[in-house]
């Protein structure tokens, strides 16, 4: 396929879609499937078959549409009319909607989501533009949405340097958590010397409570491939790898199919879009190690070794896979790339706040009414995410904290709800942007218990190479357990703080250095809760059992028991 054919195909498919009087988009993301989306699709398919499968009625099984706790979701599109979305769709409801539409009768408004629902209207969807709009396994539908047009533009109208410059101008920063300027990284790898260069897309999403990358890979795989291919041209690489987390078999299978389809269409492989640029992408499957999200560990894992980080420098940009310059970006970062070229770097840069430009995808979960996947402009106040998009806490409960950044992040308290969500502001609060997990917690969550939960995660995921992370996390966990079971003393609290600071300062890699963050941030914002556990042996949230005694009380108890047994009954 060449550029002209690509444009023609896009036009043909778009025209065909617009000629449909009705397009039914059923969300087939995992949460919707668990809620019964497959039955909805089957019922609609049966109905359409009964009608003789008319060409102007289209049924599409899409990727994630967003409000995952309300599945199965059904979006109805008619040319020239506003779209409508139904939540909690049953097969009967779906069929009755279809029938009403065909008879041009009023559609049932049962379970119909309001057109001005803030969950949808407050979002800015760039990376997720096609998620939930297209069949992820259908290349033509991606092309109809302008897919691979950015790649064509870069290959034919730009030099590699210009492509790097555009990414610099866009202000895009790494979406995996670190926030390193993507354009600068590209320029570094471009300048790196080596006969071969590689690209690695990090899809080893390991943060508990985060599923942006899974959803993106499952819902719009071609977007990631396009982003990687553009990067390949810009830095001068001919080979890319996507490292997919082992727990995400559907994502891996969709990406594999997407690669095959794109190669067959001449959008990947040799002489991409009839240019002189050749590029291959292969999938590597992770095997269950959180630490492989760290870039040097990721490289070790791709090369078949234990996923242990090594000391940097040299950075992967100088010496990565097999010693060659290697560009590593998160899959969401690559997902931003086609948008930068389709809307232009300036327009991309116009979105956002301070040094954080563009949008960020969050997995909004926890005690919030509207669970789901959202994409918002950088700098949006946390309050807007939780209370407008998220619809506040379930059952009107009071907000206590929002956890961002997973086990490397921290908890943000209610008094900081008006903080703009961007890299710098979250860091100032002792948390991080992270990959985009955002878990809302109400009053029934104990912050010490949450910190202990994350520390258990970190000690289990520690690779074991350096002492502070390997053993420090175990000791921090034991101290937190003591606080949670009521046997901690003030000295334990002191030791906890010292140890956290030490692990943060001395660990070899980012996993270890960030492991104490959940403890340090809860100590900072919820110190009273720690104090209540230690001084009053009371868990304010009522989560911790507090069934053990600290040593000094144990001694006291023993003396009392002895005194009680004495014949004279004299106390001590």
């Amino acid at each position: 396929m060449n550029r002209v054919e690509l444009a023609e195909l896009a036009e043909t498919v778009t025209a065909q879609q617009q000629s449909c009087r009705l397009r039914l988009l059923v969300c087939c993301g995992t949460p919707c499937v668990a809620a019964g989306a497959e039955a909805v699709v089957a019922a609609l398919r049966e109905k359409l078959a009964a009608l003789g499968n008319p060409a102007d009625l289209e049924l599409v099984g899409t990727g994630c549409q967003g409000p995952c706790s309300r599945g199965p979701l059904l979006t109805v599109l008619r040319p020239g009319q506003p779209e409508q979305v139904w939540q909690k769709t049953t097969p009967e409801l779906a069929v009755s909607i279809l029938e009403a539409e065909l008879q041009q009768a009023p559609v049932p408004d049962e379970n119909l989501l309001p057109a001005d629902w803030p969950f949808f209207t407050r979002q800015t969807r760039l990376v997720l533009a096609n998620s939930g709009r297209i069949d992820p396994e259908n290349l033509e539908q991606y092309i109809a949405c302008g897919g691979y047009e950015s790649l064509a533009q870069v290959l034919h109208d730009m030099t590699p340097d210009q492509a790097c410059d555009s990414v610099v101008q866009s202000g895009l920063r790494g979406r995996g958590g670190g926030g390193y300027p993507t354009g600068l990284k590209w320029q570094l790898v471009r300048k790196g010397s080596g006969s071969r260069k590689f690209i690695v897309a990090n899809g080893d999403e390991g943060d508990p409570g985060a599923y942006m990358d899974r959803s993106l890979m499952e819902s719009d795989p071609h977007r990631i491939l396009e982003g990687i291919a553009i990067a390949g041209y810009a830095i001068g690489a001919e080979q890319g790898y996507i490292y997919v987390r082992g727990e995400y078999p559907v994502a891996a299978q969709r990406l594999r199919k997407a690669i095959k389809d794109a190669e067959r269409a001449g959008l990947l492989g040799s002489r991409v879009l009839d240019s002189s640029f050749s590029f291959r992408i292969d999938i590597r499957i992770g095997a269950g190690a959180f630490v492989c999200g760290e870039e040097t560990a990721l490289l070790a894992s791709i090369m078949g070794r234990r996923g242990q980080p090594r000391i940097r420098p040299p950075y992967p940009a100088e010496a990565g896979l097999w010693g060659c310059p290697t560009l590593i970006n998160n899959v969401e970062t690559f997902g931003n790339i086609p948008s930068i070229f389709s809307i232009g770097p300036q327009a991309f840069n116009a979105i956002g706040n301070g040094k954080s430009r563009g949008t960020k995808v969050f997995a909004l979960c926890g005690e919030v009414v509207n669970n789901g996947l959202i994409e918002v402009p950088m700098g949006i106040p946390l309050r807007e995410i939780v209370f407008e998009i998220g619809g506040g806490l379930a059952n009107g409960a009071a907000f206590k904290a929002a956890q961002t950044g997973g086990p490397s992040g921290g908890c943000i308290p209610a008094e900081k709800l008006d903080t703009p969500v961007d890299y710098e502001n979250l860091q100032a609060l002792g948390s991080i942007m992270g990959s985009g997990g955002l878990i809302v917690m109400g009053e029934q969550s104990c912050m010490v218990d949450v910190a202990r939960f994350f520390m258990e995660f970190c000690l289990d995921e520690s690779c074991g190479k350096c002492v502070p992370c390997r053993t420090g996390t175990v000791e921090i966990y034991r101290l937190l357990s003591r606080i949670c079971n009521g046997s901690a003393s003030q000295r334990d609290l002191q030791t906890l703080e010292q140890l956290c600071q030490m692990v943060k300062d001395t660990s070899l890699c980012g996993l270890g250095a960030a492991a104490p963050n959940p403890v340090l941030s809860t100590l900072r914002w919820f110190r009273a809760e720690y104090e209540a556990h230690v001084s009053q042996r009371r868990c304010p949230a009522g989560v911790c059992t507090m069934d053990q005694l600290p040593l000094h009380l144990l001694g006291e108890q023993l003396l009392q028991r002895i005194a009680a047994l004495r014949c004279d009954g004299e106390g001590y």
Binding site: I311, G464, R470, T471, E475, R478, L508
Partner: protein, 240 residues
């Protein structure tokens, strides 16, 4: 090699390009504690004891791998660093079961010496008391996991110098353990050549010669640099 000048602990010091901070410091009589590092083996940066403060760096850096550069300002013994080193050694002491009084390496042990030099008189953390097994199935040598600090000198020397790669690490995090071959008893290992290099390089009494009793095990390490030097010369085509 071009000379460079840097500041260590407020003294101007000259060094050669390519030297690590640890090498420079040692040349000038500044003692930086190390455990996983050993001249001749590939640096690992795992024990974190050799961390030094570098002006402008957000966190302390490992001196065993950080190359000296012109104008660097380095502090090797701030209060904070000393406290961190103490904590690190305490963590090691708490991790496995180090009972000096019954150890073959007593008085010749690197971990023991470190603890003494840092003035560690108690451990503030919980002892983990892992109760790990001991492997005495090899004819001449034995391995006691309870004394292992996972410095991986044995793994590195076995792979890079002896070329056998008998040792590696199983598991991860705090469940990491040294294994021979497919986690078989050392005595049944088919790749081990009985050379004893790992035993000599082990900083504690984890790897030891059989027959040694409390305090009797002394380790001889000069062979390492002798071998490496001869290899280097041979590779250059010179007569060893």
């Amino acid at each position: 090699m071009p000379a460079i000048t840097l500041t260590i602990n407020n003294d101007l010091i000259s060094a050669r390009q390519g030297q690590t901070l640890l090498e420079v410091a040692r040349e000038h009589g500044i003692e930086i504690p190390t455990l996983c590092h050993l001249d001749g083996l590939e640096a690992m940066g795992g024990c974190r004891l050799c961390l030094v403060e570098l002006q402008g760096a957000p966190r302390p850096v490992p001196s065993c791998v950080t190359k000296a550069a012109e104008g660097m300002v380095v502090t090797t013994h701030s209060d904070k660093l000393v406290e961190y080193r103490k904590m690190l050694v305490e963590l090691l002491l708490a991790e496995r079961t180090h009972t000096c009084s019954i150890c073959v390496q007593n008085n010749n042990c690197e971990l023991q010496t470190l603890a003494a030099k840092l003035g560690i008189d108690h451990v503030r953390f919980d002892y983990l008391h892992q109760q790990l097994p001991m492997d005495a199935s090899r004819e001449r040598f034995a391995l006691d996991h309870n004394r292992c600090v996972l410095c991986l000198r044995c793994v590195r020397v076995c792979d890079a110098v002896e070329g056998a790669h008998t040792w590696d690490v199983r598991g991860r995090g705090s469940t990491s353990r040294i294994v021979a071959d497919l986690d078989r008893p050392w005595g049944t290992s088919t790749s081990c050549t009985d050379c004893g290099k790992c035993v000599q390089l082990c900083p504690t009494g984890a790897l030891f010669k059989k027959g040694a009793t409390v305090g009797e095990m002394k380790k001889e390490r000069s062979f390492l640099n002798r071998i490496l030097e001869r290899r280097r010369l041979a590779a250059q085509g010179g007569t060893p």
